[in-house]
Point group: C2
């Protein structure tokens, strides 16, 4: 039984220009952390990610949700978590502040993730192991399918999961092989050309076969120059992604993406405003075969559904510390599977939680094991930091979701 | 010069079942109030609306924005307000909590509205008068057009306003006539059938020719029965609107709206999730010629642009205490004008601020003077309550935007 809760506001100053992009020039990576203390002495930890200012608002909202869990048994709670998620996310006064987006939804992510962590710790297994061992029926009951009915009912989701059961054993080999990573940190926005060049070399030496450069400069020539530097150093076989962090409006995006085509990007990420589903559709049609990726600022499954319906995104970067936690991450992954679109999470969690979720997506849902973003900047803040060897995430073995932070005391 | 600021968390318990709808069974109408104190002794007041829980979060975010106004001259600020709005709404750390939605955007609404109020008070005119007297160039500079460029550039907006200048004098007659109102309070969700019947009679006796009923019951038969009661009492000439407050998923909405057709609703409001642009498009096509209205939960101009591009909404209910205040309300109204869609605001402000804005929309933009929602429940909380005579809003004459609250001291 959950006997008490604690919310912590943890902020971490980054070194130099790390983390900078076209919009966020000076971020402070921050977590609104929920801890659920079980009367058996086990603590569940979950968090949402912010860039500093306002992390306290998310903490305050998380307090509101988390206190509703006091007195609950975690096994009973998770047996019907979809119902609880629906109830919490539609709290009749609080939902006005969203609904299902912004501060309140980030807070719900924090609390939801703490529930999944506690669940796995009670069962003494890593979260990926817990999730792949659930039956399709048990899994479905952790998810709220409301407002997805026109594309994916609960029954259809159940069929989808069942259809993957037989082939699960083949996909278990990923556990030993590890999940491939890609390097996001070669080309933060404020890095000099020289530093990008060096980082690119280092990434290749470290075994990465995919990497990402920040673009979205006021001067498109800078973007073009830097993207060609990366291509030149990386060679033709390496996947190079470009990330504009919403910096362009639609006419600019059409023009600049056209010019970036020549360096053969694997995808162009967040070209424009994350709410603008139709602009992404127009852009995708205009620049095909160049592909778009997006999702780090998409707050919920309903908007992801719209993106999938238009076919504008070729890669969905849902982030479990942005949407309503693991539960909604699963809902979005199911939707993506239905539409045949790969899930390549944005890792506001630095990959700690997502290293579990991508294993689950691959094994239980049959999603392609493409690669998972790797950002090393907070590695020394975690009790069990993700391990990347030769560009590959090593499968975590400790119980839970790897989200405990050293500076957040139990 | 703004010398200090103050943020107030004001909550008002409603009587009985007033304010109840399909989702919000027990709301506490609340305002996150920003006051800007000018060194000339004048105070600008603005607010955002919430349903109670979490109003404090909006206050805290408003504090963050408002403190950035200290030391600024209001005339200089408003001469380039669009630039300031863009800067504030894209604050590089805070925008992660949106962007442009949820708690932070509600907070920006509160602060923005206080700026417009202060501006009008300094000029000693009601806000509607200030706005209609601005030149098209001055108006445009109060608005941020970013991410609208594919549909409405600053230059196109300027042309649109200029094209309406010559016919402005004809539309000034609305000032003396007053702006028609419609009655939202005949049929709150929890009211009994008998009370709906009585309220409907009273509304007609009070001169209203349009009124709204809350639907979205778990039992569609209840909705159908009650809607026919209103039609029967009101007669065929009265416009009757039905409001489902997002209660249906798409398959339900298609089915139930089909059944509600027979009572000839003027519109069906918020049939499903406010983020689901494509579901509204599918629904609108399925139930034509029945029309949809929406907007009270749409947080920003980008999503409104998508709704307008799909042609799914026949009435846009943008609310200046939900989007980023008067400035973004104007942006959305300009977009609507371009698409030929009427603006019929949702009035989280109880019509206090919007009575100014609809006059401006009609006179300066040439929008049809359809009607403005009327909700009387907080009438006695305002220093200058909106006056409705014979179903018509009487044009406010006091300087400012009519948003001062009796319990929020200067």
């Amino acid at each position: 039984m959950i006997k008490h809760i604690q919310i912590a506001d943890s902020r971490y100053q980054l070194d130099g220009s790390a983390g900078s992009d076209a919009i966020h020039r000076d971020p402070i990576y921050s977590y609104a952390v929920t801890q659920l203390f079980d009367d058996s002495g086990i603590t569940g930890t979950g968090f949402a990610f912010t860039l500093g200012e306002g992390n306290d608002l998310v903490c305050k909202a998380a307090q509101y949700y988390a206190q509703q869990l006091i007195g609950k048994d975690i096994e009973e709670t998770m047996a019907q978590f979809g119902t609880l998620f629906r109830k919490l996310s539609n709290d009749q006064q609080f939902r006005w502040l969203g609904p299902h987006k912004g501060v309140v939804h980030l807070a719900l992510a924090s609390v939801t993730n703490a529930c999944y962590d506690l669940w796995a710790k009670k069962r003494e297994v890593p979260l990926w192991k817990l999730l792949i061992d659930l039956s399709p029926e048990e899994l479905i009951r952790t998810v709220d399918f409301s407002y997805l009915e026109d594309e994916l009912t609960e029954e259809q989701a159940l069929e989808l999961l069942k259809s993957q059961v037989q082939s699960k054993p083949e996909r278990m080999s990923i556990i030993d092989m590890g999940y491939p990573g890609y390097d996001t940190s070669i080309g933060w926005f404020n890095y000099s050309d020289e530093k990008v060049r060096e980082n690119c070399k280092k990434a290749i030496e470290s075994g990465f076969t995919a990497m990402k450069l920040k673009v979205g400069s006021a001067d498109p020539e800078r973007d073009i120059r830097r993207s060609h530097i990366v291509r030149e150093v990386a060679g033709e076989q390496v996947k190079v992604m470009l990330d504009a962090n919403q910096q362009w409006n639609l006419p600019q995006a059409i023009s600049i993406c056209g010019k970036l085509k020549s360096m053969n990007p694997y995808w162009i990420e967040e070209p424009t405003h994350p709410d603008d589903v139709l602009a992404h559709k127009t852009l995708a049609d205009a620049i095909a075969p160049v592909k778009l990726a997006l999702g780090e600022h998409v707050p919920n499954k309903v908007i992801f559904k719209n993106y999938l319906q238009t076919g504008s995104a070729s890669f969905i970067q849902v982030d479990a510390v942005r949407v309503g936690g693991v539960s909604e991450f699963i809902a979005v992954s199911l939707l993506c599977k239905k539409f045949g679109i790969p899930v390549v999470p944005h890792v506001g969690d630095m990959g700690q939680l997502h290293q579990h979720l991508v294993l689950f997506n691959h094994i239980s849902m049959g999603h392609e094991a493409l690669f998972l973003e790797h950002i090393p900047h907070l590695q020394n803040k975690f009790v069990h930091p993700a391990k990347i060897v030769n560009g590959v995430y090593q499968t975590p073995q400790e119980p839970g979701s790897s989200c405990e932070l050293l500076d957040v005391k139990s």
